[in-house]
């Protein structure tokens, strides 16, 4: 293992950073959105399409974010206003997103991201921090979206635990009725944070199609959205742990590809199983843990209807 492995793990983990963060914020409001995969796909395809058409990195990112938000909006209308089952709605969003991405992406297969966009996302060293040995080249010689990922987790952490809005938000997820009685606009909070979740998932998708891959292929997310949902549990709903979870899985994601160099006698397809197997193991370990502290928001997945006793 060399430094380049860790650098690549960060790159592979960055889409997860955004997706986990998005789902985490969504779940803090008590909404369980299983449509992460779908929103990522919608974001990825729209981001890519805009990139091909306009060759403008800002517009591509905006397009992807907006598209993820639209997905989240559909989910929000159905589960918050129309009080549909959150699990099934999330699944529906994933199915819809997969169909939409493959529909829109039909003509894009084989196209490459325009050169100026590639340049825009190119790695650059952060002065001073980048000079630290080992840590510098791994963490501080990366692309703009990686840095934004670091920043987002810090902002999200401060937002959730140090501000009044964050407190209100956590209250909505923990005990919706109590937050409502205290005068928190429950539906408004839910909508806003489901939307923020969608925006981040869209961005995560854009990172995949514009930076990580960077060309179009069908089912570009390959289950990363679902891994993100699982990693929210792994991170104990704590934004400060998001980076650990994401980069750990970034590493697992690329290990199969990297290990080929060493001519192990194991099929690459079996090593590709690793992230999924590890996700399952983590799920089991967390659920088998005795203590319930650091657990999910208490009202996660519950539908709230005020006039119901």
């Amino acid at each position: 293992m060399d430094i380049s492995f860790f650098t690549a793990a960060i790159v592979a983990g960055t889409p997860l950073v955004y997706a986990i963060l998005g789902e985490l914020i969504t779940e803090k409001s008590g909404q369980l959105n299983l449509g992460v995969e779908g929103m990522m796909l919608i974001g990825a395809v729209i981001g890519f399409k805009v990139a091909i058409v306009t060759s403008n990195p800002y517009l591509s990112l905006l397009g992807a974010i907006f598209a993820g938000g639209i997905g989240a909006l559909i989910y929000g209308i159905l589960t918050i206003s129309l009080r549909a089952n959150q699990i099934v709605t999330g699944l529906a969003l994933t199915i819809f997103g997969a169909g939409f991405a493959s529909f829109t992406g039909q003509g894009l297969i084989g196209e490459a991201v325009p050169q100026n966009i590639k340049l825009f996302f190119e790695n650059f060293q952060i002065p001073f921090l980048g000079d630290i040995p080992v840590i510098g080249p791994i963490f501080f010689n990366q692309g703009i979206l990686v840095y934004m990922g670091y920043l987002s987790t810090i902002i999200a952490g401060l937002y959730l635990y140090r501000t009044q809005i964050g407190l209100n938000l956590r209250a909505v997820g923990e005990n919706t009725a109590a937050a409502d009685a205290a005068g928190v606009k429950v539906s408004f909070y839910k909508y806003i944070h489901v939307l923020i979740g969608g925006l981040l998932c869209g961005l995560s998708g854009a990172y995949l199609s514009l930076v990580y891959i960077p060309s179009w292929q069908d089912n570009i997310t390959a289950g990363r959205g679902w891994i993100a949902v699982a990693l929210v549990i792994f991170c104990k709903w704590n934004p400060f742990l998001v980076l650990c979870g994401a980069f750990l899985f970034g590493g697992l994601d690329i290990i199969g590809f990297r290990i080929q160099k060493y001519e192990f006698n194991i099929s690459q397809y079996l090593i590709d199983l690793l992230p999924y197997v590890v996700t399952i193991i983590i799920l089991i370990l967390i659920s088998a843990r005795k203590s319930q502290l650091g657990a999910a928001p208490a009202n996660l997945g519950a539908t709230y209807f005020r006039e119901e006793k």
């Binding site: 299983l34 559909i74 209308i77 159905l78 129309l82 009080r83 549909a84 089952n85 699990i87 099934v88 709605t89 699944l91 529906a92 969003l93 199915i95 819809f96 997103g97 997969a98 169909g99 939409f100 493959s102 529909f103 039909q106 390959a222 289950g223 679902w226 891994i227 949902v229 699982a230 549990i233 099929s267 397809y269 079996l270 590709d272 199983l273 999924y276 197997v277 996700t279 399952i280 799920l283 089991i284 659920s287 088998a288 209807f305 006039e307 119901e308």
Partner: protein
């Protein structure tokens, strides 16, 4: 000026509910028509050629039924799990594992007569699919591990495993390096009746069995109790953990059987594309059928028609086949939204009237 009020209701009759759901599906088609028009096609002609594509000729009807068979069996399996409020979205993987189990029998027992081999393949597929479902069920029962993510991860694991088999140990040496698994010998292929492999008879029988299993057996009753309230089930002395594991084994087993029927009746070999996304579509169909076995048959035929016509309109209008998938998602969205009107009552109050009182 009017004010909107909402109150929960419990008085919605089955007939009313059915009308609301069907209207939602129609609305979804109407909504989709708008987008078809945006793409520059005439929605009416697209829809009519979709019907044409699914039911227009005897051949197309047969194709539609062939697509409906795995969908029906998988939906029956999924609905069993959903009855338990166990969100099994691992049907995709369970189908693959079932197909792998059946293929293993077919590839190793080449000289066995079909009347022995086919039941063996069926049993193999049920066991493999069942175990694939029972693993997450075990952890859900024991630790309450989140089954949604678990079953989904199992899908990816089986996909990678199947890829490994196809590119590795099971690669057909006679295929000149092309990664494909050997085609089945005649003894491993399902016989046909009226031009369609006998999977259609199997699915009809399964619908009847499933209906009476859920409504008229003791285990069916237990599944209902556990699904509605685990605490009450414990209170009544039902072994909740065992019910969860057995039921999901059955659920996965049915999905596995669907995989066997696909390899043996349709593809006559195994490949990574074996599922054709049936595992995901079946989630929609089970939900739309309110988990009722007879309704599942109807909904699945309609969805199979949708898929079949998707291939047709791709040729006729150059609309990508995935349009059918988008349409499926939209139907699900609309029906999900319509549930609101089944569970809640909306009424308008004239604000002026309120002030007067």
């Amino acid at each position: 000026m009017t004010m909107l009020r909402m109150a929960s209701r419990t008085d919605c009759s089955d007939k009313e509910a059915a009308i609301i759901r069907i209207s939602a599906i129609l609305l979804a088609f109407l909504f989709a028509a708008f987008f078809i028009a945006l793409l520059g096609h005439n929605p009416l002609s697209v829809y009519s050629s979709m019907i044409e594509g699914a039911f227009g000729t005897v051949y197309r009807i047969k194709e539609t039924i062939i697509k409906a068979i795995p969908l029906i069996i998988t939906s029956l399996g999924i609905s069993l799990a959903f009855k338990l409020k166990f969100w099994n979205i691992g049907a995709e993987g369970q189908i693959m594992m079932g197909a792998i189990g059946a293929t293993f029998c077919a590839l190793t027992l080449k000289d066995v007569p079909p009347y022995i081999l086919l039941p063996l393949m069926g049993a193999g597929s049920i066991i493999c699919g069942g175990i694939w479902g029972a693993i997450p069920a075990f952890f859900r029962a024991k630790f309450k591990t989140n089954e949604t993510i678990f079953t989904l991860m199992m899908n990816y694991i089986s996909l990678k495993f199947l890829t490994y088999l196809q590119y590795g140990p099971w690669k057909d040496p006679e295929a000149l390096g092309f990664p494909k698994i050997q085609g089945f010998a005649q003894n491993a292929i399902l016989p046909t009746l009226f031009g369609i492999h006998i999977g259609w008879i199997i699915s009809l029988i399964l619908i009847v069995i499933m209906y009476s299993f859920i409504n008229h057996t003791k285990i069916g009753y237990e599944i209902n109790v556990v699904g509605e309230s685990e605490n009450t089930a414990r209170y009544a002395g039902i072994n909740v953990k065992a019910i969860i594991i057995y039921t999901i084994f059955l659920s996965g087993g049915l999905c596995g059987l669907a995989g066997m029927i696909e390899v043996s009746g349709v593809d006559k070999t195994l490949s990574v594309e074996i599922t054709h996304g049936v595992g995901y579509t079946a989630i929609i169909t089970s939900w739309l059928s309110s988990l009722r076995a007879p309704v599942i048959a109807i909904v699945c035929i309609l969805f199979a028609a949708l898929v079949q016509s998707g291939t047709f309109i791709q040729m006729a209008f150059q609309i990508p086949q995935s349009a059918a998938q988008i349409l499926q998602g939209m139907i699900l969205f609309f029906v999900l939204g319509s549930e609101f009107f089944i569970r809640y009552k909306l009424s308008y109050i004239r604000k002026k009237k309120v002030e007067e009182l």
